[in-house]
């Protein structure tokens, strides 16, 4: 039987997390169907059909699904479940929200945030904020899995899957979407950026994040923050990188004025190259940094900006 992957999108664009979840599903060895659930999202289904490795795209279009509210998502996925051996979703706030409902309704344990597939029923996943890695075997029967997308690389190439419409079941009517406040930014999203520059308590204020933004603009980087900077009210919580925020693994992670609490390291230690800029040379962040600069950030960051300008960035 096939695997079903739930697509991450905002009705306008397909998110990277989808292709990465497909990459995990490929390792289960079964044909893959991709479910695009949303409202007025035919364009997303079209984009999804061109992903490599997909056999079929299922499109469920209904106003109740527009914001991927958990209760109608559960109804839809549980209805499709009999045809599948495995159901996978990215461990985004959407996936984390609806998937355990699906698992409970199917009466199977969920395997959360896998970082590797060892065999079609055995997976690795971080526990204790990434301080230990658990290898876990799911019982026979359906697998319900969420995928830590930073651990998987999208498959190269393109495909041409058929798009098939599926009916959305009636909205259970127990929950309604009221509104949302999304952070507006011209910069890439934290979870898909190739370069991230993050600030900690060392930045001293929210205004000082402008220093990081100047570098971010030159490098097309996303801007993040430590929990300490969020707790201090410098920046909103969706900036937060760490165990309790977003888990990221960019090619380059620049930590500025961040001491390196375990909870922050848990969110970024799988980055390819880590840079630490901090005036305290005993900060734990230096123990995991590939390049460390012991300096006052208020001097070092403008110097970096000048150097980048000089080099034509």
């Amino acid at each position: 039987m096939a695997s079903l992957v739930i697509a991450e999108h905002d009705n306008a664009a397909l998110k990277d997390a989808t292709a990465k979840t497909v990459a995990a599903a490929v390792q289960l060895g079964a044909p893959i169907h991709l479910l695009v659930a949303g409202h007025q999202c035919a364009g997303v289904a079209e984009a999804a059909s061109r992903l490599a490795g997909i056999e079929k795209v299922l499109l469920a279009d209904s106003p109740a699904l527009a914001k991927m509210v958990a209760e109608p998502m559960e109804q839809l996925i549980v209805g499709l479940a009999p045809a599948y051996d495995a159901i996978l979703a990215p461990a985004t706030t959407n996936g984390k929200n609806y998937m355990p409902r699906v698992a409970a309704r199917l009466d199977v344990p969920q395997v959360s945030e896998i970082i590797a597939v060892e065999s079609p029923d055995t997976f690795r996943r971080p526990i204790y904020a990434g301080n230990a890695i658990q290898t876990v075997q799911a019982p026979a029967g359906k697998k319900v899995i969420t995928v830590r997308t930073t651990a998987f690389k999208p498959k190269d190439g393109t495909g041409s899957a058929l798009v098939e419409k599926v009916d959305a079941p009636p909205d259970p009517g127990i929950s309604t979407f009221v509104g949302e406040e999304l952070s507006k930014s011209e910069r890439p999203e934290l979870t898909s950026a190739r370069i991230i520059i993050s600030g900690g308590r060392g930045l001293q204020s929210g205004e000082n994040f402008h220093l990081l933004e100047k570098i971010a603009d030159k490098l097309h980087a996303a801007v993040g923050a430590s929990r300490a900077a969020v707790d201090a009210g410098f920046v909103p919580n969706d900036y937060q990188v760490g165990q309790t925020g977003k888990v990221v693994a960019p090619d380059l992670y620049i930590a500025v004025g961040i001491s390196g609490a375990i909870q922050h390291l848990a969110g970024m230690k799988d980055s390819k190259v880590i840079v630490a800029i901090n005036k305290d040379e005993d900060s734990p962040i230096f123990q995991i940094a590939d390049y460390g600069l012991v300096a006052d950030l208020f001097k070092a960051i403008p110097e970096m900006e000048q150097e980048l300008t000089r080099l034509g960035y």
Binding site: A104, I127, T135, D290, L293
Partner: protein, 249 residues
């Protein structure tokens, strides 16, 4: 309206966990245990609802070994009214926890269940959602703000791109995120008072639940270690290394 708050006993937030040499798990011997921090936030929120007159009683439930009674006492010392300990010596998976909690909900009929979005030991982030699904209730996960209204509750949620607000028909399940509130400390008189508050003891079987784990943990290992790299002296040297040595900019 009764509010039910499930709490879990976990390794303290500040303890550096160590993987056992035989790779069967992490070392729990002589390690400080505490209430899961997200559950502490849940207890605090329930107490605030009671203080605002929105809740009549705060009931705390924990599923775990006899020692989980201490975790319940902590919540009682914060101000919760009474406790239920569902005794289980082995690890209980989120699905079984959700099934037990469903039984507790059927017996206690709470209007709202508030619990942590995840436990900081197994990091599953499943229990609240599973409980809501088993009961056929709506859920507001990763709550940033909770506003009970007439027969409904509005929950502002932390989502990847910012904040989202949903309205849920009561009864409902809410899971807490970090910024919901700052939990209070228990005062000494309240700690003394908590010793007299009742804790009922139950077993999973009382709720007709088989708590045997269904996932098989084959091993628990150390994550790959990163080693410290080099120190650079200037910002210009740093940019040069990133461009010409690492090739990432």
């Amino acid at each position: 309206m009764k509010v039910l708050v499930p709490v879990k006993r976990v390794i303290d937030f500040n303890v550096k966990v160590r993987v056992k040499a035989d790779q069967t798990g992490v070392d729990l011997a002589n390690v400080k245990m505490s209430m899961n921090p997200f559950d502490e936030i849940a207890v605090e929120e329930a107490l605030r609802l009671r203080e605002k007159g929105k809740a009549t009683e705060v009931i705390v439930v924990s599923i775990g070994p006899q020692a989980a009674q201490e975790t319940i006492r902590t919540a009682l010392a914060m101000g919760a009214d009474r406790g239920i300990l569902v005794k289980a010596d082995a690890d209980v998976e989120p699905l079984a926890v959700a099934k037990i909690l469903k039984g507790v909900c059927e017996a206690e009929q709470p209007g709202l269940v508030i619990l942590g979005k995840q436990a900081i030991d197994d990091d599953s982030n499943q229990t609240g959602q599973m409980l809501a699904a088993l009961l056929g209730w709506p859920q507001g996960t990763f709550a940033h703000k909770i506003e009970p209204g007439d027969g409904v509750v509005r929950v502002e949620r932390e989502i990847d791109g910012g904040l989202q607000t949903v309205e849920l028909k009561l009864p409902a399940v809410v899971t807490t995120d970090l910024r919901l509130n700052e939990p209070r400390y228990a005062s000494l008189p309240n700690i003394m008072k908590a010793k007299k508050k009742p804790i009922a003891e139950k077993t999973p079987a009382d709720y007709g639940v088989d708590a045997t784990p269904r996932l098989k943990v084959l091993k628990v290992s150390e994550p790959p270690k990163r080693v410290a790299g080099v120190k650079v002296k200037t910002a210009a040297e740093l940019i040069d290394k990133l461009k010409n040595e690492a090739g990432v900019i």
